[in-house]
């Protein structure tokens, strides 16, 4: 049985349906992420789980027990707020002790567990500091420690890394993964940063305008997006407008206006004539000089419009015959400067017959 079950949750604010018919199962011990653009309803879902808001329709159950009518202070669910919401009049230790005091733990136990938790987030020497004396990353850790110290069944994290700079954010991501593994508390994490979601999560729910578009493990979300929104939202992807010309057990034959015939992996019941998009990740596209021998099934010709040298990889933006842009990514392992393709150079792009995903309209 899932630890947390959301069943057909809907929440309306006036005419706006902020959350539409959301159903989710989150397992114990999972690092689960709600990913989606700003305003898609992520915070609203967290607030309903925490008890600060209630769904207009649908039900939420924790450990099989419906949560409706249970006040936030009575739910074994804690939240790490984006603004941290640390108590300014309490020390770091006082902040972390707060949930333990609320739970009526003994003095000795509180002292021990505050100490343990401070060590867990590497703040042993900051117990007596006040929140205003801490850096952003330290505040973040105190907020995490406070949320975790009483071992809730569920920890909700609403963009907890949003206020940190890029470098610190990366480090905190690593710490977050380690921390979750160590304490084993189930995390429901909210972010609009897709890379962060991919890096941290066991499973991700991609949301759009109050609806869930796809729930999957990061690898599947990335390699097999179910629709254009997911494909476009996660990572970079090339989308080519195509229609199906023929089907075979091992492949799908496609026609792209201006680019000719293409082949991709088969999908269930895509009859000839079905329209859609071929979605192709830049790292699957191999770039070479125009007229190079064909080694892969699919090929198109184009002109290099620009390239971005990123150190480990180079990203080429290539203009195709039909005027569209295509991205190809080349790793720079062992490549000398001479092998780069200059702007304006004619190039051939090739990819395997099963590299792309056909997304039906």
């Amino acid at each position: 049985m899932a630890l947390l079950e959301l069943r057909n949750i809907t929440r309306r604010f006036g005419k706006l349906e902020a959350v539409s018919n959301v159903t989710l199962d989150i397992a114990a011990g999972e690092f689960f992420t709600l990913l989606g653009p700003s305003g898609c309803g992520k915070t609203t879902i967290l607030r309903m789980i925490a008890g600060f808001d209630a769904p207009d329709a649908g039900s939420i159950a924790l450990d099989g027990r419906p949560l409706a009518g249970i006040a936030p202070e009575k739910r074994p669910v804690h939240t790490v707020f984006q603004s941290y919401a640390l108590f300014p009049h309490l020390t770091v230790a006082g902040n972390i002790a707060f949930p333990l005091e609320m739970a009526g733990r003994t003095r000795d136990e509180i002292r021990r567990r505050v100490g343990d938790t401070l060590a867990l987030v590497h703040l042993e020497d900051k117990g007596d500091a006040y929140p205003h004396e801490l850096s952003g990353g330290q505040k973040q850790r105190v907020a995490l420690a406070r949320g975790l110290v009483n071992r809730p069944r569920l920890l909700l994290l609403d963009e907890p890394l949003g206020a940190l700079d890029a470098k610190l954010r990366e480090r905190m991501q690593g710490e977050l993964i380690a921390l979750q593994r160590e304490v084993g508390v189930t995390f429901v994490f909210v972010t609009h940063a897709q890379q962060e979601a991919l890096a941290l999560s066991h499973r991700i729910a991609v949301m759009n305008a109050g609806r869930i578009e796809q729930v999957d493990v990061p690898e599947v979300l990335y390699s097999a997006p179910r629709n254009r929104f997911v494909a476009d939202f996660i990572g970079t992807i090339n989308l080519v407008e195509v229609s199906v010309t023929a089907t075979a057990p091992d492949r799908l034959e496609l026609a792209a206006a201006g680019l000719g015939a293409l082949t991709t992996a088969p999908v269930a019941d895509a009859a000839p004539g079905t329209r859609g998009a071929l979605a192709l990740r830049p790292e699957h596209v191999r770039i070479g000089r125009a007229g190079a021998p064909a080694t892969l099934k699919n090929r198109v010709e184009g002109t290099v419009a620009e390239y971005l040298f990123l150190g480990d990889v180079t990203v080429y933006k290539v203009r195709l015959a039909d005027g569209s842009r295509f991205e190809a990514l080349e790793t720079n392992a062992g490549a000398g400067r001479a092998q780069f393709h200059a702007i304006g150079e004619r190039v051939t792009l090739q990819w395997r017959h099963d590299a792309g995903v056909f997304l039906r309209d």
Binding site: P72, E73, S83
Partner: protein, 278 residues
């Protein structure tokens, strides 16, 4: 070059500090230190035959007024009673003002300004007129000329001075803190006790000072609403200057009052420092 910049910077720094601190210091000297010194000087003189002070050359300095105040316990008793009444007034103001200030701070933003306006509206009419209004209310009810009426009047007059600093403080509280406390298991009362109240202490303190100190010097309210036994130290001082024409005694009493106020202020500052949580 760098040394030059540092030097000018340090000088500019000093100048800024001086410009910032000078006005309040000047204010304190002109309106507090100088009057207190004049009072101290007056307290050491002889009273003049028709009020005022006897010529210094003729009479010289004397500690008569101090001896007089020290020998008659009535003065210490009235000062103690005044402190008690001021404390009681402050406490009652706090008990009434806190829920009101909380209510205003939790109201929708649009309604708050209106409610604050209602709080300060009584100032639009004259203080004495408002006290006479109380006389007209309490008189027929036979509640006039007793200590209860005095405290009632004092609370009524000073309530806005408690509400406003409290409201200013409470209004700034981040609602996310209460949500965090609730999320971490705190019920309504615990949220108040552990979050709202400690964060509002600066407001409680300044409100209390704004009520306590003026009440100590107040003479009009006890005079108009109280009985003969209800005079406070303020009345006593006023009497020495206006009715008894004994300026040195009035000056001595007012110095005692100043000392008492400073003592209470020092005590509360010490208490605030001990539990200071930035």
């Amino acid at each position: 070059m760098r040394a030059f910049f540092c030097a000018t910077e340090a000088r500019a720094d000093k100048l800024t500090r001086w410009l910032v601190t000078a006005p309040p210091v000047l204010f304190l000297v002109v309106f507090f230190v100088l009057p207190a010194l004049i009072m101290a000087a007056a307290s050491l003189r002889e009273p003049g035959p028709f009020g005022g002070l006897a010529p210094l050359a003729a009479q010289g300095l004397t500690l008569d007024a101090y001896r007089f105040v020290g020998e008659d316990p009535i003065y210490a008793w009235i000062l103690a009673k005044s402190l008690l009444v001021a404390g009681l007034t402050t406490l009652l103001c706090l008990l009434l003002a806190y829920p009101l200030a909380l209510l205003i701070s939790l109201s929708p933003r649009r309604r708050r300004d209106f409610m604050v306006l209602l709080v300060i509206l009584p100032f639009a009419s004259n203080f004495l007129i408002r006290i006479y209004a109380w006389i007209m209310i309490l008189g027929p009810l036979d509640l006039l000329y007793r200590s209860g009426a005095v405290v009632l009047g004092l609370v009524y007059v000073h309530l806005p001075f408690m509400i406003l600093p409290l409201y200013t403080n409470l209004e700034k509280h981040d609602p996310a803190l209460l949500e965090a406390a609730q999320d971490l298991g705190a019920g309504a009362w615990t949220r108040f006790r552990r979050v709202t109240w400690p964060l509002s202490l600066p407001g409680v303190l300044s409100g209390s000072a704004l009520v306590f100190i003026p009440v100590l010097g107040m003479f009009a309210v006890p005079e108009l609403l109280g009985g003969t036994g209800d005079i406070l130290i303020g009345n006593l001082i006023k009497e020495q200057f206006l009715d008894n024409r004994d300026w040195p005694l009035g000056a001595t009493l007012s110095l005692a009052l100043t000392a008492a106020v400073l003592g209470v202020a020092a005590l509360s500052a010490a208490a605030a420092r001990r539990r200071r949580r930035p």
